[in-house]
Amino acid sequence: MKVQKKMKLFFLFTIIATLLLSACSSSSDTNGEKAEDGKVKLRFATWDVGDDVDLQQKLIDQFNAENSDIEVVLEAYGGDYDTKITAGIGAKDAPDIMYMWNYPQYKDALEPLDSYIEDKGEEYKGNFYEALWNYNAVDGDVYGLPVGYTTHVVYYNKDLFDEKGIEYPKAGWTWKDLQETAKKLTDKDKKITGFAFPGKPDPYDFEMYLWGNGASYVDSKGNLDGNINSKKAIETFTMFQNMLKDEIAITTEGWGDTEFKTNRVGMFINGAWYLEAFKEAGINYGVVEIPSFGDKPSASIVSSSGIAMSKDSKHKEAAFKFMEFWTGEQANKERLSFELPVLKSVVESEKLQEDPIKSVFYSMLEQSEGYNPTSFVTDDWSKLSDDLSLVFEEIFNPSTRVDPKEALNSVIK
């Protein structure tokens, strides 16, 4: 009896000890700035998930092999990237290099890159699409190197078009055309609707529709009044609301990709994120430019992704070396499967301008040059964005459907 108990205790003790040991041994030294082998260690944070991470790891392995004095460690934070980055920055333990899009909010923790870029010369900078530098800069200071981008386009379901014998939309079409097409596509018996857009649109994205109609949320000084409630702006919202009232469009709970995948929505607007997913789901789709309001070409918001350097990084030279690699021609080509290249030379060599799908994103990019999203103009975009989001929801939610004029005027207060 006694012996048994002792044996039991002994076993328990051994198990605990082994586990403790393995727990401690698995603790590594990524916090230490230099690894034992004298290499400079760089932490690199990405928000990508799944296969994309594997691809990135392969690229990094290649970089590590080519640079014997540097070791880059990939940290994939996934969907809660912002929470993780915020915690790291707040605790002064940010990764050396990190993916970034929301520069205005993080800029105080980032290293300005202008001097690094200048050293590389005009030609280096000129190879990136000009429109993208604006999205990687705040108040004229560049904080990130462009890695990828997407503009928004109209995705349309070819099968649904064929079923009704409707011609596919073409570049240069108007919102009126879209509405007519949506009307033809809508089939109540089959529960098919012509067009879909988010019931709680991201205000950052939605501004592109105002741009297309010659309006915006704020003027260059950040004033809302007279801009978000201008005649043109109200007109834009009214148009969207009317599509719901006419039942040729529905609002979606998410971004609309799932509804599109169910083959019950003819058209929806979003970025390049879904190209692969739609292919995998076997959807027969096409893409086309966002329709215009008639008098001038449509515009798209640019969702850009860049990489930035922490201002607390201890190895800035090495970090920039890696950033250069990460934004270079080869890396751009390697990422073709999930990221649109940002270098003109790559777009040319890969003949992307001739690709029936990808070329649309580039023409939207060229068309959208010169527009400045409100998030880069106003001081407190995250709060304003919250307020706008609520107002947009009030306009589109079936249980409220507030008159756009009234709703937009309420933002001013």
Partner: protein, 312 residues
């Protein structure tokens, strides 16, 4: 070890120290892992700290902003209280009913016990994803099943009236843990007590009221307090399932604090928010605790306090 003479003296001294020895692990843990961060966050509430930038001392501005200039603060507080008022009693009741059900001596009860407990094993993240997948008004399976029954399902996540119901349904799904706690306690009640009562002619309901309930009052207290805390701090579900919407109808206080900290990067303000809630919950807990002397009966105290003498 020591002589008989000072044994008595040592004994009382030891008796005085012994309880502290037992609770020592927690005291150390509290000082090392809790106290520092807690004080830090209290100090932070007096600062304007945009996380990425420098912190600036602003006195009680965060608190005055919260009470006078931020309507969302009151809205979120109200919604959260409303949720707690629905959720806490409902959850307790369901947990208790389920715990009683799974003590029934009928065939296959083990299977039901496992089924009822199963959802409690699923992580909050997965719970939100699964329910979000089923609740969708366009392609969700729930409304499809309802439509087969000839019922037009509500827009669960779009209609503000239904959104809070959705949250209640999804959160009550994980009631298993609480059920298990009740169950463990009910199982601990000696059979003799029921037998004796049954001989006295007490029916099942009478037995439940005079034996089961009084004996499990300590765990009822535990479940009340922990579910009040859980309800007032609910975050995962509203963050992932509804995002606070539709129309901010589920913008709970937990989400309000989280967004202020991680979306708006106002860590000082978020600390002020958090501390306010901390104090509310603390007061509420103390209130419940104070009241407990009137309705919670501990066997260990039975003799001392001459209360609730039953069964023995």
């Amino acid at each position: 070890m020591f002589t008989k003479k000072n044994k008595q003296k040592k004994f009382t001294l030891v008796r005085k120290r012994v309880p502290f020895l037992f609770i020592l692990p927690w005291i150390i843990g509290f000082i090392v892992f809790t106290l520092g961060p807690l004080v830090f966050s209290l100090i932070m509430s007096l600062f304007d700290w945009p996380i990425a930038g420098e912190a600036k001392f602003i006195g009680f501005d965060n608190f005055s902003t919260m009470f006078t200039a931020d309507p969302q603060f009151y809205d979120s507080l109200w919604i959260t209280l409303k949720f707690a008022l629905i959720f806490v009693p409902l959850n307790l009741l369901v947990a208790l009913v389920l715990a009683l059900l799974i003590t029934q001596p009928i065939k296959g009860i083990k299977v039901f016990r496992t089924i009822f407990y199963l959802p409690a094993v699923v992580s909050g993240v997965a719970v939100s994803i699964i329910w979000g997948w089923m609740f969708n008004s366009e392609y969700g399976v729930l409304n499809y099943i309802l439509s087969l029954l000839g019922i037009e399902g509500p827009n669960w996540l779009i209609d503000p009236k239904w959104a809070i119901v959705t949250i209640v349904i999804a959160s009550a799904w994980g009631v298993g843990s609480m059920m298990l706690i009740f169950y463990t306690d009910i199982k601990g009640i000696p059979h003799e007590m029921y037998e004796a009562a049954s001989i006295d002619g007490a029916g099942p309901i009478r037995q439940f009221i005079s034996i089961t309930i009084p004996t499990i009052t300590p765990t009822i207290l535990f479940n009340v307090i922990t579910s009040v805390i859980a309800a007032l701090q609910q975050l995962t579900l509203v963050l992932l399932l509804t995002g606070g919407g539709p129309l901010k109808s589920t913008y709970f206080y937990g989400l309000f604090v989280y967004n202020n900290a991680f979306k708006h990067h106002e860590l000082g303000y978020a600390s002020a928010n958090a501390w306010f809630m901390f104090i509310i919950i603390l007061l509420l807990t103390m209130l419940i605790f104070k009241s407990s002397s009137a309705w919670v009966f501990y066997e260990a105290e039975v003799k001392k306090e001459k209360k609730g003498g039953k069964g023995k």
